[in-house]
Structures are given as structure tokens and as C-alpha cells.
């Protein structure tokens, strides 16, 4: 069994120490610190990127919030303006309506007064016409007529 040939032990041990020692120094001094640096940098970079993403998200949220606030404000303002306009229009309409009504009432009163005047004039004319007619009839029937007597008789009848 070659594994138990003792004269081969020393050279194997010597080279094991040399090679393992070299590898240990190479790994611990050169290779592993490099890997550690790269892994560290990558972890930092990922953390940074995540932070940045978080920040961007926060900014986006803020912008959305601001936009929604502005929208709500604009909506409220528009509502207010509409209400105001409606109120103003309503008031104006009311005022014009009242003015027109007043004017109409005035016109009605004037017209009524005119009608009364006209009616009075007509009634006055009726007397004259009645006196004339009665006078003519009396003159026709009796040949002659007493104007003043007729007037009295008409007045009596008209009373």
C-alpha cells in the first residue's frame, strides 16, 4: 500500500506546508480582500439604489398629493364661482321682474284712469244726445219744444 511507505511522508508534508502556506497567504492577503471589497461595493450600491428609489417614490407621492390638493381646490373654487354667478343672475332677474311689474301696474292704473275719463265723457255725451233726441221728438210731436224743460226731464230720467 503506497500510502504506508514512510519514506514518502516527509516530502509530502514539506510540499503540503509550502503549497498550503502559499495558498493561505494568497487567499487572505490578495484574493479574499478583493472579493470582500467587490461584494461590499455591490451591497452598498444596491442599498444606495434602493434608497434612491425610495426617495423617488416619496417625491412621486408628494407630487400626486399636491396635484390632488390643487385639483380639489380648483373644484371647490369652480363650485363657488358657479354658485356666485347663479346667485347674481337670480338677483338680477328678480330686480328686473319687480321693475317690469311696477311699470305694468303704473300702466294699468293709467289705462284705468283713462277708461274712467272716457266713460265719464261718454256719459256726458249721452245726456246731450238724449236731450237732442228728446227735444227733436218733442218738436216733431208738438211742433215746438222747450229746450230747458227737456233738459230737466232728461236730467231727472238720468238720475
Amino acid at each position: 500500500m503506497p500510502q504506508l511507505e514512510f519514506h514518502t511522508f516527509v516530502p509530502q508534508l514539506v510540499w503540503l506546508v509550502i503549497v498550503f502556506g502559499y495558498l493561505y497567504v494568497m487567499m487572505s492577503r490578495v484574493a479574499l480582500p478583493r472579493i470582500a471589497t467587490v461584494l461590499e461595493e455591490r451591497r452598498d450600491r444596491i442599498a444606495d439604489d434602493l434608497d434612491q428609489a425610495e426617495q423617488f417614490k416619496r417625491q412621486t407621492d408628494e407630487a400626486i398629493e399636491a396635484y390632488e390638493k390643487a385639483l380639489a381646490e380648483a373644484r371647490a373654487k369652480a363650485h363657488e364661482i358657479a354658485q356666485e354667478t347663479r346667485d347674481r343672475l337670480h338677483e338680477e332677474t328678480e330686480r328686473q321682474r319687480l321693475a317690469i311689474e311696477a311699470r305694468l301696474a303704473e300702466k294699468i292704473a293709467e289705462a284705468e284712469k283713462q277708461i274712467a275719463t272716457t266713460k265719464e265723457a261718454a256719459l256726458a255725451n249721452v245726456r246731450t244726445v238724449a236731450v237732442d233726441v228728446a227735444d227733436a221728438i218733442v218738436a216733431q210731436l208738438l211742433g215746438e219744444a222747450d229746450r230747458s224743460a227737456t233738459e230737466r226731464a232728461v236730467d231727472t230720467e238720468l238720475k
Binding site: 500500500m1 503506497p2 500510502q3 504506508l4 511507505e5 519514506h7 514518502t8 511522508f9 516527509v10 516530502p11 509530502q12 508534508l13 514539506v14 510540499w15 503540503l16 503549497v19 498550503f20 502559499y22 495558498l23 493561505y24 494568497m26 487567499m27 487572505s28 490578495v30 484574493a31 479574499l32 478583493r34 472579493i35 470582500a36 471589497t37 467587490v38 461584494l39 461595493e41 455591490r42 450600491r45
Partner: protein, 257 residues
Amino acid sequence: MSVENAEHGGGGFAIDPMHQFEIKTYFPLQLGSIDASFTNSSLFMVIAAALLTILMLAGMSRRAMVPGRLQSIVELSYEFIANMLRDNVGTAGLRFFPFVFTLFMFILALNLLGMIPYSFTVTSHIIVTFALAFFIFIGVTILGFAVHGFGFFKFFVPHGVPAYLLPLVVPIEVVSYLTRPISLSVRLFANMMAGHTVLKVFAGFVIALGAFGYLPGLLPLAFMVALTGLEVLVAALQAYVFAILTCIYLNDALHMH
């Protein structure tokens, strides 16, 4: 695993499945009184170290924010071991991250390199796995005493055990603690050796039965294909087991259960 010695026994059928584990010296080298010869084992350790160096440096050369394929491999292995340490030891264990990472990558590279035909499996030698396990054992024990002082001996006295059982339980705990380096090293070594031996035995069957025609030879070949898949899994799994047991031992030393 190597298939080059099909005619090893001379007759063509007699295959020595252990031949693949032989240590061949390429350059004899003597450092003082120490034999530091460059062998096939040394060669594959150096190849593993070179491949790992290339993987780590090429993988991280661009240091891209979005990793490419090679960088992903490097980063995934990094996070895999880091998570293993965090889950099993906690943040206190991250001090030992470079060691556990090197250990895992080294064993994984050696195991997987061993799956290439004609290559050599360094981890199929008990001395290599035992040296790693023993180093971990000593290190973890020193760490335990450094953190807890003599209180670390309480590790061998489990909570909630009746006093009259302690004479029985404490020796069991001590023995199980002391056998850790053996179980840790034998698990890796035996898995690698057994897997490669079985592959070699089946490779021998392909030659032996192939002599009777294509069909009898294809059957063990199909088996070999399936076993090779299994062995790749074992190669990765044993590296993982070695690393996670190291984590568990570290946790024991730092937090005493």
C-alpha cells in the same frame, strides 16, 4: 487515477489497483536533513495552487458590479464558505474564514484534479489528510484553551448527565475528542482511495472482459461512467464535509457546544 499500467502484471489482466497511488520522485531535493523531493504529489499540489490562483485572480480581475461567469464562481464559493462559517460558528468564526476557505478550495481542487485520468490524487494519501486534520485539531484545542482557559476541560463534562455516569461519560468524551483528527483524516483519505481503487478495478474488468468481445467489455465500462459521476460528487462532498467539520470543531472551541 491512472490506467497506464494495464499490463503491469505482465499478463495484461493482472492490474494492481494500488499502483495509481504510488509516489514518484521527479527531482530529489534535500533541504538540510529534510527530504523535500519534488514528487507527483508535490506536482499536483502545485497545479492545484496554480489553478486556484488563476481562478481567484482572473475571476476578480474585472471586479465587475454585475459578475461574469468566472467572477460568479469565485463569489459563490466565497459566500458559500462565509455562510457555512456564519451558520455553524457565528460571526466570531469569521476570523478563521481565510483558513477554512483555503482548506475547502484546496481539498476540492485536489479531489477534482484526481478525477482526471492519469492524474494523481493528493488527498488519497493518509499523511496529507492527517497532517491537515492534525493541524486543525491542535489549532482548535489551543483556541479552546485560549478562549476558555482551564474551563475548556468542562467541554468533556456534558450538561445534564447524572454524577454517577460521569466516570463513564467523561472518558468517552475525551476519547471521541482525541480521535477527531483520525476520523477527519481517514474519512477523506478512505473515500478518495476507495473510489479510485474501485474505478481502477472496473477499468481492469473492461480489459479482462473486453477480451471476450465488445458487449462484455461495455458493461463494466458503463459502470465506470456511472461511478465516475459518483466520484465527482464524492470529491466535492468530501471537501465540503472536511470544511464543515472544521467549522463544527471551531464552534466547539469557541462556544463549548
